[in-house]
C-alpha cells in the first residue's frame, strides 16, 4: 500500500506519418539546462522533465528513486549501432552510448535532485511496472517518514515497430494490428495519508491459468472482491480482437454493475509499461472525479496479466 501525493505524465499523440503514437515536444524544459536540452534524447528529456516536475514542488526528503522501462532509450541505442556501421567503429560519441544505458535517467534525476538515495532501474518487459511498484512499496515501508519517487519511460522507434510487425507475439491472432505507443510518468509516494491524491491498495500478477483462451471474469481476476461505490475499470485492450477475446466478460460485468470502462490504450498505445500511464490517468480521475475505486487490468503479449487497484484516500 502506498499513498500518491504528486504525479506527472505525458501521453503520446497520433502522427499522420507514423503507424504508432508518438510523444510530442518535451514539457517542463524550464527545469533543465540548455546543454541538456541539446544533447539528451527526447525520451530522456520527457522523463527528466516529468520526474523533476513531480519531485521538486515540495522539498521533501527522498528515500529512493526507482525507474522502470521495458526497452530503454532505443533511439540512442540505434544511433550508436548506426554510428558503428557508418563510421566503421571509429570516432564514436560516448554521450550516445551512455544515453542508451537503462539507468541513465535514474542517475540524472539523482544528480538534478542532488540526492544520494537508493537508485535502481527495473527493465523487465510486461512485469516492469509491478517490479517498480514492489520496490517502491518496500522502500516506502522501510522509510515511512520519507517520499519515494518512482516512474517509467518508454520509447518506440521505427526499428522497434518493425520487430513488432514481424512478431506474432505482438499482433493479434486474427491478424489485427496493435497500435503501439510510448510515454512517461512519475509519482511521488509515501505511507502518509495526509494530503494524498490516491492510494495504491494492491497490485498483482494474475495467475495465468487463464491462458488467454477465453475472456477473463472479474471473479477470476480478483476473487472474492466486492464492488463498492463508484468504480471504474481501466482495461488494456487495443483492438476489437482483444476486446472480444480477452475483456468481453469484464465489459459485460461492468455494464451490469454500472462500472465505467476506460480502454486506456486508445490514448497510450501499447508498450511494455503502458499500465504506468493508466496508473497516472487513474490517479487523476480519483483526484478530480467522484470515483471511489479503480481497477487497472492489463495483459502483456498473451504472456502475463496484471492488476492494480487504487482508491480515493479515506
Amino acid at each position: 500500500m502506498m499513498y500518491i501525493h504528486r504525479y506527472n505524465y505525458v501521453l503520446p499523440e497520433s502522427c499522420p506519418d507514423l503507424p504508432y503514437l508518438k510523444l510530442g515536444k518535451p514539457n517542463n524544459m524550464d527545469l533543465l539546462e540548455k546543454n541538456e536540452m541539446r544533447r539528451l534524447a527526447p525520451i530522456i528529456l520527457h522523463a527528466l522533465g516529468s520526474a523533476l516536475f513531480t519531485a521538486l514542488k515540495d522539498k521533501t526528503e527522498i528515500a529512493g528513486i526507482i525507474t522502470g522501462t521495458g526497452r530503454g532509450c532505443l533511439s540512442k541505442l540505434e544511433q550508436f549501432l548506426n554510428d558503428m556501421d557508418s563510421y566503421h567503429e571509429t570516432a564514436l560519441n560516448p554521450t550516445v552510448f551512455i544515453q542508451a544505458t537503462n539507468n541513465t535517467i535514474g542517475g540524472l534525476i539523482a544528480q538534478k535532485l542532488d540526492t544520494g538515495a537508493y537508485n535502481v532501474t527495473f527493465v523487465n518487459q510486461g512485469l516492469t511496472v509491478l517490479n517498480v511498484l514492489k520496490d517502491s512499496q518496500i522502500i516506502s515501508m522501510e522509510n515511512p517518514e520519507k517520499m519515494v519517487l518512482f516512474g517509467f519511460f518508454e520509447e518506440n522507434t521505427d526499428f522497434n515497430q518493425m520487430i513488432h510487425d514481424q512478431s506474432s507475439y505482438l499482433n493479434s491472432p486474427d491478424g489485427s494490428k496493435i497500435i503501439y505507443g510510448e510515454g512517461t510518468s512519475f509519482f511521488l509516494a509515501s505511507q502518509k495519508r495526509e494530503k494524498a491524491l490516491a492510494k495504491i491498495d494492491e497490485f498483482q500478477l494474475i495467475p495465468t491459468t487463464l491462458n488467454f483462451e477465453k475472456p477473463f471474469t472479474f471473479e477470476e481476476l480478483h476473487p472474492n472482491a466486492e464492488i463498492k461505490g463508484c468504480t471504474a475499470f481501466y482495461l488494456g485492450y487495443n483492438n476489437l480482437f482483444e476486446e472480444k477475446e480477452y475483456y468481453h466478460e469484464l465489459i459485460q460485468f461492468a455494464s451490469q454493475k454500472n462500472i465505467a470502462i476506460i480502454p486506456f490504450k486508445k490514448q497510450t498505445g501499447d508498450f511494455d509499461t503502458s499500465s504506468s500511464l493508466a496508473l497516472a490517468m487513474a490517479i487523476e480521475k480519483l483526484a478530480t472525479e467522484n470515483i471511489q475505486t479503480i481497477y487497472i487490468f492489463n495483459h502483456y503479449k498473451r504472456l502475463s496479466l496484471t492488476m492494480i487497484k487504487l482508491s480515493k484516500p479515506s
Binding site: L92, V96, A117, T121, V123, K134, S167
Partner: protein, 402 residues
C-alpha cells in the same frame, strides 16, 4: 511491516566466467595467480583480436547442448545465466526448483549480441528474421528465460543499473526476504560479449588493450569479460527447517547515488564511501572488522582512484583488498554477483587470491592490494563492492555463519 527483520542466508552459489565453468574450477584458477584473458574475437569488427578480455570458451552450440535447450528462445546472456543459476539451485539442494522461488536477475546488454547481428538485416534490408530471435533482444528476455527454464515463480524481477546490476539484484533479493515477501530468492547477474559494449567503452577511452592494472599508478583502463553468477538467498528459518547449512549470511548492504557525473566517479569516492559505510552500519560492524574487500577495481583511472580514496578514508592503510578483474575481465552486470560468489568461495576454502599486474600504488592513496596468495586467513566479514554508470554504488557484506 515486521520490525523483527529476517536473516538472509546464502545457501547456494553458481558461476561461469573466463576462469571456470563452476565454483570449484573458478576458485582453483583464482589461486593460480595466472590471468586467462586473451584477445577477443568478433565477427566483422575492426577491433577483433586487438583487445584482450575474458570470454567463456563455450560456443552457442555447446551451450545449447549442455543445457539441453531444444528451442531457440534464449540469447547467450540468458544461457550463461541459466548455467550459473542451475549450479546455485543444485548447490542449495533446490533442484529441480520449486515454483515458489523468486528470481531476481540482472543484465546490462541482454540480447545485444543478437540486436547488433540482426539490426541491419531487419531495418536496412527489410528482411524477415526468425521470431525466436525477435523476442530475446531486450534485457528482460533474460529474466523471462531463467524463470521459464527452471519453472520458477512467475513474478520475477530484472534490474539494470549498468555494472552494479548484479549486486543490486542480490540486495533487492535480500530485501524481499527481509520484508517477508518471500523465503527463497535466486539472485544474480549475467552479461555476454558484444561489439556494442566494446565500442561503447572504447568511445569512453577506458579500455586497456593489454592486461589491466587494478589500483596501479599506471593503470589505463579495463578489460571486458562475460559470465554469470547466481546466489540462492534463503530466509534463515526456512533453511534451518530443511537442515541446510549456510555458506554465509548477507549481513549488510547499501546502494547510493553519487550525483557527481553520469559516468565518472568523484576523485574522493564519496558515493563508494557512503555505500561501504552504510553497509557496515547495517551489519552493525566497525570498519576494522572487515577482513577483506573484494573491490569493483575495474582498473579505469576514475574508478580506482575513487574506490581507493574511499577505502583509505573508511579503513585507513591496513585494509586487505583486491580486484579479480585481471582474472574474469569486467563482466558488467555479472561482476557484483561474480565477485560475491568468488568471495563466498574464498571464505569457505580459506584463502585470499593474489591481485595481478600491480606494480606501484596510486600516488594519492598509497594503498596496495593483496598481491600474493594468502592461505588460511580468518575471513569472518568480507565486503564486495560493485559500482556502475549513473553514479550507482553498491556494497554487500558477507559474514561467516555464527
Amino acid at each position: 511491516m515486521n520490525e523483527e527483520r529476517k536473516e538472509v542466508w546464502i545457501t547456494g552459489i553458481g558461476i561461469i566466467s573466463a576462469i571456470g565453468k563452476d565454483v570449484y574450477s573458478s576458485l582453483a584458477y583464482l589461486k593460480s595467480g595466472q590471468s586467462p584473458l586473451r584477445p577477443l574475437q568478433f565477427t566483422n569488427s575492426i577491433h577483433s583480436g586487438k583487445y584482450i578480455g575474458g570470454a567463456v570458451d563455450l560456443s552457442e552450440e555447446e551451450l545449447n547442448s549442455r543445457l539441453k535447450l531444444v528451442d531457440r528462445g534464449y540469447n547467450r546472456t540468458a544461457k550463461l545465466a541459466i548455467w550459473a543459476a542451475g549450479q546455485a539451485l543444485e548447490d542449495a539442494g533446490l533442484f529441480p526448483a520449486l515454483a515458489k522461488i523468486t528470481s531476481v536477475n540482472a543484465t546490462t546488454v541482454g540480447g545485444m549480441a543478437l540486436t547488433e547481428k540482426y539490426y541491419n538485416e531487419i531495418f536496412k534490408e527489410d528482411k524477415i528474421v526468425d521470431e525466436n530471435f525477435l523476442n530475446q533482444m531486450d534485457s528482460g528476455s533474460v529474466s523471462r528465460a531463467v524463470r521459464h527454464y527452471f519453472n520458477l515463480n512467475k513474478w520475477h524481477y530484472h534490474i539494470s543499473t549498468a555494472c552494479s546490476s548484479g549486486a543490486n539484484a542480490i540486495m533487492f533479493g535480500a530485501r524481499l526476504i527481509r520484508t517477508g515477501d518471500t523465503q527463497v530468492v535466486l539472485a544474480g547477474g549475467s552479461d555476454s560479449m558484444s561489439k556494442f559494449v566494446l565500442n561503447g567503452f572504447l568511445s569512453l577511452k577506458n579500455v586497456d588493450p593489454l592486461l589491466c592494472r587494478p589500483f596501479d599508478r599506471d593503470r589505463f583502463g579495463l578489460n571486458l569479460g562475460e559470465g554469470a553468477a547466481y546466489l540462492v538467498l534463503e530466509e534463515k528459518q526456512h533453511a534451518i527447517k530443511r537442515n541446510k547449512k549456510p555458506l554465509a549470511k548477507l549481513s549488510g548492504y547499501a546502494n547510493t547515488s553519487e550525483t557527481y557525473h553520469i559516468t565518472g566517479s568523484s576523485p574522493d569516492g564519496k558515493g563508494a564511501y557512503q555505500a561501504m559505510s552504510n553497509a557496515i552500519n547495517m551489519a552493525a560492524l566497525k570498519p576494522d572488522e572487515i577482513d577483506f574487500v573484494h573491490t569493483h577495481g575495474t582498473s579505469t583511472i576514475d574508478n580506482d582512484l575513487a574506490e581507493s580514496s574511499a577505502l583509505k578514508r573508511l579503513f585507513g592503510n591496513k585494509i586487505r583488498f583486491g580486484s579479480s578483474k585481471t582474472y574474469t575481465g569486467h563482466t558488467l552486470a555479472a561482476s557484483g554477483a561474480i565477485s560475491s560468489v568468488l568471495t563466498l568461495g574464498m571464505m569457505k576454502e580459506g584463502f585470499i587470491f593474489p591481485s595481478l599486474n600491480f606494480n606501484n600504488p596510486i600516488e594519492e592513496t598509497g594503498l596496495i592490494p593483496v598481491t600474493e596468495l594468502v592461505e588460511n586467513p580468518d575471513l569472518r566479514h568480507c565486503m564486495v563492492n560493485s559500482f556502475g554508470f549513473g553514479g550507482n554504488n553498491t556494497s554487500l557484506i558477507y559474514s561467516s555463519p555464527a
